[in-house]
């Protein structure tokens, strides 16, 4: 009747779960950079999480979790690319991907980044903020928004690119001024 105490090293597993949950944003951004525009990013992220979970006994508290997770994510991306190539999906080249993976820093403070994003978004004019919200609202498209507002989708798309570029510049400036 009574539950049995688990046999896992509690501290180690606790640290592992904390790292796994805390680094989802970084892991996701890493995958976005390796498979840009793919609708399968969520699936590859899940696969990466599963491999990490199965390998959790290898994790040592205090070690660089993100570097380890990136390595596993790269392998999962390679599996994805093999499948995608079979489907003749045009991808960025393998060489470039390798370069991108190697150059990705594993010390970006994701929480600080999100705070900077919030701050920069808050500085945007209302229309631009709305455009961002529309673009990143799950299940809603710029095309639908164009129909709803009577505007041209192409014009919205161009405007969106400008807004994101200004957001990027604002965030990079903010991160430089307030390093973690």
């Amino acid at each position: 009747m009574l539950g049995k105490r688990p046999q896992d090293g509690s501290h180690q597993l606790q640290e592992f779960v904390s790292e796994l949950t805390a680094n989802q944003g970084r892991l996701r951004a890493f995958l976005v950079s390796l498979m840009p525009g793919s609708p399968d990013i969520g699936d590859v992220l899940q696969e990466t999480n599963i491999v990490l979970w199965k390998s959790r006994s290898r994790y040592r508290p205090g070690s660089n979790f993100l570097a380890w997770a990136f390595t596993i994510a790269r392998l999962e991306v390679l599996h994805y690319r093999t499948r995608a190539k079979r489907q003749r999906i045009v991808l960025l080249s393998d060489d470039l991907l390798e370069l991108m993976a190697v150059e990705t820093p594993d010390d970006l403070d994701h929480e600080a980044y999100l705070r900077a994003l919030e701050s920069c978004k808050a500085k945007l004019p209302g229309k631009q903020r709305e455009l961002i919200d529309v673009r990143y609202r799950p299940g809603y498209t710029l095309e639908a928004h164009a129909r709803d507002t009577g505007r041209k989708a192409s014009a919205l798309r161009v405007a969106l690119m400008r807004v994101r570029e200004s957001l990027r510049e604002c965030i990079e400036k903010s991160m430089e001024e307030h390093p973690a």
């Binding site: 509690s10 597993l13 606790q14 949950t21 793919s38 899940q46 990143y136 570029e165």
Partner: protein, 462 residues
């Protein structure tokens, strides 16, 4: 695909991230990115921004992303193991990456755990309608424990252990979710049960694998004290997309009116972490050489007597009394001070901290008021105990490892005086208690003392 091919690098990157860049554009971008580090840095920055905006969008519209689907665990693990740990494992893995908030999956209506009440606990248990036949100390979904006083330990099948201190009110909502509108509760959550959630009126606390205490109070802010690990808390009624506050080991927070939390000092001692151990009663024995109790100074014991008012010779006497079951007592006279005091010495069985008690008889409701004075160790001070600051054992059904004297009629009752704490690392393994006849000053009292023995209870290690 884009109607007009983007003519700037960052536009091409964004189009790629949006999935709207055509094959030619991808090849052009590939070459540009290979050619320069700056281009790759720009790409990485835009990819990070794109990902973060997607994260925020999901959080804003309350999408909870499953980190690892449960069915994959089912497929990957032996079913026998999973059945027991499925719920807990699901809780570990169902965290939304942004909000760390858990959505619970309904679980079959089976028994989820059981409870054990500490001695002296006054409580009631209610079960939901479909569980009205729940037996004994089993608990299921909807079971509610209302604890007036004392302590109760709940053990969930998931491995979670909770110690509740009354007055408290706890309802089991699911295998790893409870509601605590009132009371003090301490939780120990093993790793597979990470995600265990405690709801109070003012906050929701999600465990990330830890030991923590929750104090739910109707008149003040609810508190969370994290002894080990990490706990995420969120104010009740806060927006779903508001980030939970993460409390680390050694920290504590109190909910404030308006939804925020303020930092407070952690007090692990506020929480009972285990049911109290039973008390071992040590009968006072003045047998020469083998006894544990002697006169603490020159003098002699008076003659053994069964007289109602024993000898008026200023000496302690062995007293028997009709109705007292469990041996004799060491008694002083009716209205005389006795010299010298008594000293009882005994050893505790192992290293640790112990609560030490003294036992004396009180003629509660009868003639006079019989008191006793005790001093724990040579560093303590002699203090008089009466019915005002000691407890009638008959009113707190304390658990003992040994037989305790009782009275089988309407005569005197045995009282328990809490003398203090004995720490073997500081005080040694041999405990000394000094006993004198008491003078409480209660109207109608006399100087009579019936001393019967001492007791010790092992306290939990912190």
């Amino acid at each position: 695909m884009s109607e007009v091919p983007p003519d700037k690098l960052h536009d091409r990157i964004l189009a790629l991230l949006d999935g709207t860049l055509d094959s030619a554009g991808i090849q052009q971008l590939d070459a540009e990115l290979k050619a320069g580090r700056q281009a790759r840095d720009l790409f990485r920055q835009l990819a990070t921004l794109h990902s973060a905006l997607e994260e925020q969008g999901e959080a804003k519209f309350r999408m909870v992303r499953t980190l690892i689907p449960i069915e994959r665990l089912l497929a990957d693990q032996r079913r026998g193991i999973v059945r027991k740990s499925l719920f807990a494992a699901a809780a570990v893995l169902l965290f939304s990456a942004l909000a760390l908030w858990v959505k619970m999956v309904p679980w079959a209506p089976i028994t989820l755990g059981e409870f054990r009440a500490g001695s002296g606990a006054v409580f009631s248990v209610e079960h939901s309608e479909d569980r009205k036949d729940t037996a004994g100390n089993e608990l299921g979904e909807g079971s509610r424990l209302r604890l007036g006083q004392g302590t109760i330990e709940v053990k969930f099948d998931s491995g979670v252990r909770c110690v509740l201190e009354g007055p408290a009110d706890l309802t089991i909502l699911a295998d790893n979710r409870v509601r605590l509108p009132k009371g003090s509760a301490w939780f120990e959550v093993p790793p597979p049960a990470v995600g265990f959630t405690v709801e109070t009126q003012q906050l929701t606390a999600v465990d990330l694998g830890t030991r923590f205490g929750v104090l739910a109070r109707s008149d003040q802010g609810d508190q969370v004290h994290v002894i080990e690990g990490v706990v995420a808390v969120k104010a009740t009624g806060a927006d779903d997309d508001r980030q939970p506050l993460v409390i680390k080991a050694g920290d504590a927070r109190e909910a404030m009116a308006g939804g925020g939390f303020r930092e407070i000092d952690i007090h692990p001692g506020k929480f009972v972490t285990a049911l109290p151990n039973p008390i071992t009663f040590v009968d006072a024995d003045i047998s020469p050489a083998t006894g544990n109790t002697v006169l603490d100074g020159p003098g002699s014991f008076g003659p053994t007597t069964s007289l109602k008012t024993n000898s008026q010779d200023g000496k302690w006497s062995i007293r028997t009394y009709s109705g007292v079951v469990g041996g004799s007592v060491i008694a002083s006279g009716l209205d005389e001070d006795v010299e010298p005091r008594l000293r009882t010495t005994f050893r505790v069985p192992e290293e640790g901290r112990y609560a030490i008690c003294g036992y004396f008889w009180n003629n509660e409701g009868g003639e006079g008021s019989w008191d006793a004075a005790f001093q724990l160790g040579s560093r303590g001070q002699m203090k008089t105990y009466s019915r005002l600051n000691a407890v009638n054992l008959a009113s707190i059904p304390e658990e003992f490892t040994t037989d305790v004297p009782t009275h089988d009629g309407d005569g005197p009752v045995l009282f328990q005086a809490a003398l203090g704490m004995w720490d073997t690392t500081r005080d040694g393994s041999e405990v000394t208690v000094f006993i004198d006849n008491g003078d409480s000053g209660i109207p109608g009292h006399d100087l009579r003392t019936w001393y019967d023995g001492v007791g010790f209870r092992r306290l939990p290690d912190h």
